[in-house]
């Protein structure tokens, strides 16, 4: 078997193929270096407070795996359930978030409504003085089991675990073609380092999924956009949780190194440049400065971009394809990191059994033909 | 139709009154004027020109004027026409007659926006505080006009003189735009 892409999702897939299904004759191919794509570029937020049953099932499966992951891998992924607070700035937000809270509870996912004062108590740097804000804080939805993890450690932990069980991880090895036999089924992949035969190929290539799938003649319901993040200079611990504001677009937390980790929005147009326009990050910093006036004089150290593959309904695809032996795990948009363990776990099942795990059964490609969309575009409150 | 001119409520009066003077970068509110949005194909454009008294500009991003009447090219088939309030009723009637049978659209948008002027040697610099266009005289000469952005607000910007710009801004954005320009000119007052 071949997994295309050695990011968190690909490595987790290989790890669970080995540990859960006993399949160790696996090669993970990576055109760059291990965890060097979106795994190493995201803002490390983990949460599962999604609206729809299908999404809540998938993301909460991941959170449950996160909770035992350091022990499972014997590798500290620094999963910290410090809570994710999503701020509401207008009546629509309030109604929508309360709906989320109720829907989440019905699905066994913790989520609670906080007043503006309770939000400030939970996150003291937060400004809730409505007279100084264009978009005042009217309250927030808090998922206490949510939090952050160390992104690189997740890739390394899964890689080490897979490697120890016999999986081959081949870096600097770009897939250049997908070879198919007379019956149309996959027979292997062409790479920059030669042909590798395989009966099953799982594509976990994030922003480059459309390009890889085109090698097998498959058109995908995907568009790839740059998504930016940035970090500040390191400071003493001051920020106790993760705060997200989708309405004015800001994501912020503090890493264990002390940097404020800030997520911006996607650029307006598709691109593979792994950078992005300055006005996008500037807009996010405007929002950060309004929500947290104490950070106004801080300096930003670095900013960068990753390429996120976005589906029309903003939910991922974890499925078999129209090609026998070809599987795809993609479309995570701006929120794939949080799902890493769950994604790998159910994708490994899909490849090993040639049929989806019940959790990822709804996340097919065919839903874009049949109309069974999992429309988190508005519901996830993710501003793609 | 009711005479809306008497019902206009001030949008930025307090800001205008409190605004400090500056010969380097003066910021002024211009008196009310009538605005028509005109859209049409060549036959209607020609007919409209006869009522206006001069041809609508065909060069992109340029305005033409005659006396107190001005026509700004905003798009390949879209113009903003401004004229004194007292001429509005007669003009609208004459235009309706001239355009009869010619597919076109003429809408009175007078109440939608207000006009400001920024003038003085630092005028371009003040506007560039919120507008990303190249406002050097070569790139944005006298007689040029365009829709663009000032900060987060859409405006129509015209250069009426080497050191004078007019800004047409939607009423609800006027407060924001005025304060943004005021902030930019703080070092020159």
């Amino acid at each position: 078997m071949i997994i295309v892409g050695a990011g968190g999702h690909g490595l987790a897939t290989a790890y669970y193929l080995a540990t859960v299904h006993g399949i160790t004759n696996v090669a993970v191919l990576e055109k760059g270096w291990l965890g060097g794509g979106n795994t190493g570029r995201n803002t490390t937020i983990v949460r599962s407070n999604y609206l729809f049953d299908e999404s809540a099932g998938l993301y909460d499966h991941a959170v449950k795996l996160w909770e035992g992951l350091s022990q499972e891998l014997n590798y500290n992924v620094m999963f910290s359930q410090r809570g994710v607070l999503m701020l509401a700035h207008n009546i629509h937000d309030v109604q929508s978030f309360k709906r989320h809270v109720h829907a989440n509870r019905l699905n066994g996912v913790d989520n609670e409504w906080l007043t503006a004062e309770e939000c400030r108590d939970f996150c003291p740097p937060l400004n809730i003085d409505a007279s100084t804000m264009r978009y005042p804080v009217l309250g927030g939805a808090l998922q206490r089991r949510a939090g952050t993890a160390r992104h690189d450690a997740v890739a390394w932990g899964y890689a080490r675990g897979a490697d120890a069980r016999g999986v081959d991880i081949i870096q600097n090895c770009a897939v250049t073609g997908i070879r198919r036999g007379p019956d149309g089924a996959v027979t292997g992949v062409e790479t920059s380092r030669g042909f590798i035969g395989a009966k099953k190929v799982g594509v976990v290539a994030a922003g480059n999924t459309s390009v890889v799938m085109a090698m097998a003649g498959q058109r995908m319901p995907l568009e790839s956009y740059p998504l930016q993040a940035l970090v500040s200079e390191p400071i003493k611990p001051i920020f106790p949780c993760v705060v997200m504001s989708n309405t004015i677009h800001a994501y912020i937390s503090q890493s264990d190194k002390g940097e404020l980790v800030i997520g911006a929005g996607t650029d307006a147009y598709t691109s593979y440049t792994q950078r992005g326009a300055l006005h996008i990050t500037t807009h996010t910093l405007d929002a950060i400065c309004e929500l947290f006036p104490m950070f106004r004089r801080m300096r930003m150290l670095r900013n960068w971009g990753g390429i996120v593959d976005v589906t029309p309904d903003r939910s991922p695809i974890i499925a078999k394809t129209g090609v026998s032996g070809l599987y795809v795990n993609c479309g995570w948009g701006t929120g794939g990191f949080k799902a890493t363990p769950g994604s790998g776990h159910v994708f490994a099942h899909t490849i090993a059994k040639d049929e989806p795990h019940p959790i990822n059964a709804p996340f097919t490609i065919d839903r874009f033909r049949d109309g069974f969309l999992i429309d988190e575009a508005a519901a996830a409150a993710v501003a793609h | 139709m009711a005479d809306l001119s008497t019902m206009r409520t001030p949008a930025i009066e307090a800001l205008v009154t409190a605004s400090p003077a500056s010969h380097l970068a003066a910021l002024t509110a211009l008196p009310p004027r009538t605005r028509f949005s005109f859209r049409g194909r060549p036959a209607a454009v020609t007919a409209f020109g006869t009522v206006l008294g001069f041809d609508l500009p065909q060069v992109a991003c340029r305005f033409a004027e005659d006396g107190a009447r001005r026509a700004l090219w905003l798009g390949p088939d879209e113009w903003l026409v401004t004229l004194p309030d007292r001429e509005a009723t007669a003009f609208a009637g004459a235009a309706a007659t001239a355009l009869a049978g010619l597919p076109s659209s003429l809408v009175d948008v007078s109440q939608r926006s207000l006009a400001l002027a920024v003038s003085g040697p630092m005028a371009a610099r003040i506007i560039n505080a919120g507008c990303p266009l190249d406002l050097s005289p070569d790139a944005f000469p006298v007689g040029m006009c365009t829709r663009t952005l000032l900060g987060k607000a859409e405006i129509v910007l015209s250069r009426t003189d080497e050191a004078r710009f007019e800004i047409d801004v939607w009423r609800s954005f006027a407060d924001y735009v005025w304060r943004l320009l005021e902030e930019a000119r703080r070092e020159f007052v």
Binding site: L222, S224, T273, A277, P312 | T146, L149
Partner: protein
């Protein structure tokens, strides 16, 4: 920030524009005769190429017009812009090819 050449107004900053997705996606003349497969493909499948991409833009804070552009998605370099309704300029590389 990108400088985009509007076919009507000339070079303008990116902020004045809005992206309109893949160009030349023709709406089927009679959707009711299409298979689910084809209708789904029309609605949702996109080329998303790495390299040149024919795409729609709208100069929303300028002349308001839609137009098409050829942009290299690996560099964001604009190879050409052209009026909507006109075919892709002759002699330009295919989607996914590099612009220079």
């Amino acid at each position: 920030m990108l400088i985009i050449a509007c076919p009507y107004c000339g070079p303008r900053p990116e902020l004045e524009f809005r992206y309109g997705g893949e160009a030349h996606v023709a709406r089927p003349v009679d959707p009711s005769t299409l298979s689910d497969e084809d209708w789904g493909a029309f609605l949702y499948q996109r080329a998303n190429p790495r390299g040149l991409h024919a795409e729609r833009w709208r100069h929303v804070h300028g002349c308001g017009r839609f137009f098409n552009a050829l942009r290299d998605t690996t560099t964001d370099f604009f190879a050409a812009t052209y009026e909507t309704g006109t075919p892709r300029p002759a002699g330009t590389p295919a989607d996914g090819e590099t612009s220079r």
